[in-house]
Subunit: 143 residues, 2 copies
DNA sequence: GACTTTTCCCCACATTTATCCACAACTCCC
DNA sequence: GGGAGTTGTGGATAAATGTGGGGAAAAGTC
């Protein structure tokens, strides 16, 4: 299980270090892909395989399902860790998440999220503001 | 598994480089054909054989299924990779996908898609727009 | 048959990518 | 607190890759 919030920087060669704590659980082979709210998701290859399998089985005949699978699969990219535990972030994903130099890496249960630092701060304050209302909903969920 | 999004250019001899990452899985013998949404599909010969078999078994009675099968089978063309990993894109397929110089090659699980760059960008933003309920679908898939 | 056009195989070159290593900051342990 | 190991960052060098042409062989045209 991935937990915690770390800040790292992407160098000019698009390399991004993964927190040492996550490396063992990730393994050497990992996959980055488009995530929700303009961040990137990072999965271990095993986790990803399960997902990709499901995506590939979506009906090809339906235009919207086709588009969805296409974006998720084409958006993904193998991101193997080098000797020092870094991955390479492809240009199009860097752009998608509007990643600058400073990034935040957050562990969220079975996946790792990669955020631009500013976007992360903005998102956090935004969510924190709505935290009061959320408590109500959590109660409904029995938390 | 083919993953990722790459941009390449077709030269004036209709040659198109295939991403190095895909070459091994593709093999030397490949097949290009008309795809859905005005892009081209590129399969390894083995995958193509399986697909062609399925297409040939589509119910002959249904007009749309028949049309689809016809489009894909008649549009297919062997596209062997040369020494440097490039294929030749026939004129009629270039025209079908309205390929300009700049093209995008996308890996979508068991196939590779070839898009005109502009068409690809347009398609992507279009899908993303209609993806407000993306989170819902992801949840269904257990992402 | 002569000529033009197309297709295919060869190579050159600039750029990108991958691999390796260096160094400073930090942590942990004795 | 000092030393050994780890970790984050940056850079150097070597290999691989993308792109563009040249020219021989094949195909088509008049």
């Amino acid at each position: 299980m991935f937990l915690g919030e770390f800040s790292y920087s992407i160098d000019e060669k698009k390399r991004l270090a993964i927190p040492a704590k996550f490396r063992q659980a990730l393994g050497k082979k990992a996959v980055v892909t488009r995530g929700l709210d303009q961040c990137l998701f990072l999965y271990s290859f095993k986790e990803w395989e399960v997902l990709a399998e499901k995506l590939s089985k979506l009906p090809l005949a339906q235009a919207d399902a086709r588009g969805f699978a296409r974006l998720m699969l084409a958006g993904a990219m193998e991101a193997d860790l080098d000797k020092l535990g870094r991955i390479l972030v492809p240009d199009y994903l860097k752009e998608y998440a509007s990643l600058g130099k400073k990034t935040v890496i957050a562990g969220v249960y079975n996946r790792i999220e990669i955020w631009d630092e500013q976007k992360w701060e903005a998102y956090k304050t935004n969510i924190e503001k709505g935290m009061g209302d959320m408590a109500e909903r959590l109660k409904e969920l029995g938390i």
